[in-house]
């Protein structure tokens, strides 16, 4: 495996260029957001202007509330369903998996219009529920596939031993499987959190008018749309505010997230 040093340096050079190109757009808005409106002083004025004018405090809270609720409920539902589909003989299990499989690649566009009509019939448009309930439904396929794959990977002997010890099904799940499911659940939760936090189309359609429940991406879309003529540095600061929680999470969890997003796609 001897390759010339020149080739190694050249390839690393290509990698550096590719990585810089990937980071540059984010770097450009960070740089722009730190520029004072007067042009010279470096500071946080843009952030405070964006924060107050764009109502990003409430938007970030709304995003966090929606995302956390969706993640928790989906993780619980998916663990239950994935457990049954992975280790028990569920009647029609194959058919259930086939239907869920379609849900994995479904464009949300095909559901949004009836969702709007249904949720407005229930009086839920412009409430948190309009974002939470459908996103649980749309997250369930990924969650069930994910947890089923995990539960199937557990050696049959462990389940058998628990059964012989007289554990009920629920006890096996609660006392035997969930304690070792931590990493799988954590990766799933991270992916779901990312998807839910970034979701735009559903927010645009289902909470169009009520600023109090609008999520961060939607608030940013409105803010940058109405303020297009205004100071681009303030818009950039707003974009950084919306991206920041995800970037922080990414710095901490990037290995988990990358592995999850790339290997999860295989299944």
């Amino acid at each position: 495996m001897k390759v010339s040093i020149r080739e190694s340096v050249g390839t690393h050079g290509l990698l550096v260029i590719a990585a810089l190109f990937a980071v540059y757009p984010l770097g450009s808005i960070v740089a722009s957001s730190l520029h004072g409106s007067s042009g010279s002083d470096l500071g946080w004025t843009n952030f405070s202007v964006a924060w107050t004018r764009g109502h990003f405090g409430s938007a970030l809270l709304a995003s966090a509330f929606v995302a956390v609720t969706v993640v928790i409920v989906t993780a619980v539902l998916s663990s239950l369903a994935g457990y049954a589909l992975g280790t028990l003989r569920v009647p029609g299990g194959k058919a259930i998996m086939a239907v869920l499989l379609i849900g994995l690649v479904l464009p949300y566009e095909v559901t949004v219009l009836p969702l709007y009509q249904m949720l407005s019939g229930w009086g839920l448009i412009d409430t948190y529920w309009a974002l939470i309930l459908p996103q649980i439904g749309l997250s369930v396929p990924l969650g069930v596939f994910w947890m089923r794959t995990f539960f199937r990977s557990i050696p049959e002997e462990i389940l058998e031993a628990a059964r012989l010890d007289g554990a009920s099904r629920m006890q096996i799940l609660r006392l035997v499987l969930l304690p070792i499911a931590g990493p799988a659940v954590a990766t799933l939760s991270t992916i779901l959190f990312l998807f839910t936090w970034n979701e735009f189309l559903l927010a645009l359609i289902l909470v169009p008018e009520n600023q109090a429940v609008q999520t961060a991406p939607l608030a940013l879309s409105f803010f940058s749309g109405t303020d297009r003529a205004a100071n681009p540095s303030v818009t950039a600061a707003a974009a950084v505010l919306v991206a920041l929680p995800i970037i922080v999470a990414y710095v901490v969890l990037q290995r988990r997230l990358i592995t999850g997003l790339t290997s999860g796609a295989v299944k």
């Binding site: 095909v110 009836p114 735009f200 940013l220």
Partner: protein, 322 residues
Amino acid sequence: MTVVADRRTVGATPTGRRWRSRLTGLSWSSLLYVAPALVFFAVFVIYPICVTVQTSFYNYDGLTVATPAGLSNYLNVFADPTLRAALGHSLLLLVFYAALPVVIGLILAGAMSRIRIYGLTVFRALLFLPQILASVVVAVAWRGLLASDGPINWVLEHVGLGSIATSWLGNFDTALPSIGLIGTWVEYGLCMVLFLAGIVTIDRSLYEAARLDGAGPVREFFAITLPALRPQISIALILTITFALRNFDLIWNTTRGGPGTSTTVPSLYVYLDAFQNRQLGQASALAVVLTVVILIVVALVQLAVRGRSGEPRTTRTKRSAR
């Protein structure tokens, strides 16, 4: 209960898999575990899809009584010039969103397969960054870069190409390719990370053998790297093509289909027809077509990969490594 007993005896054969099922039996109570997830999926995904399919056969403005429209909404998808143009834009975007990122990813991955890479974790994290950003954030960033006083034009002017500087997203000729470029940026890192993960699993001795046989870098790429990466290429294609065909967020937050109709795509018309033009039947038909196209593409890519994986190949074992 008799049904349960019957199935149990029929299903019981002395293979390992079935043995498990004999112990547990076909368990109707296990449906209770699946039910909560299925209820959410049925109410918020399956039912809406059925309504969309039904609506697509009607003329409906959301207020007055719907009238049957037969297949006219579907015929419109392919006959209406504005919708046809949108489909055409999507096809062009496929080149930028799917083909280019996969090719770029393959070239770089091919180069990387030949050497030991230092700082792989850092490179991976940086390359993957565009994937985790909300599309609205991406749109804001690129609107700044592509603006008439943005850094791209600044560079062009300083290298003497000031004449081609323009408001990239505001110009009829450049808006669509510019959006395509953003898509390439979003996706190429994902492709590279996927391919890098595949390359790690390739047996290094294959490369040694190829080199002993006098294979050059190009030969090596086509003989070893490319065939071994087939599963990763299929995943990359499915993810990028799906992203390209949906693509509402990015367009909505950059051009909203403009200038004129130069960057319209089907998913944009799904939204506009449903919530602004009050043509719910047309919007539904378009959404159904979009979904069917995505399902077909995914199935085709899957088939193309699975259809060939039965061939005896030196790298076949690598598939199980994932």
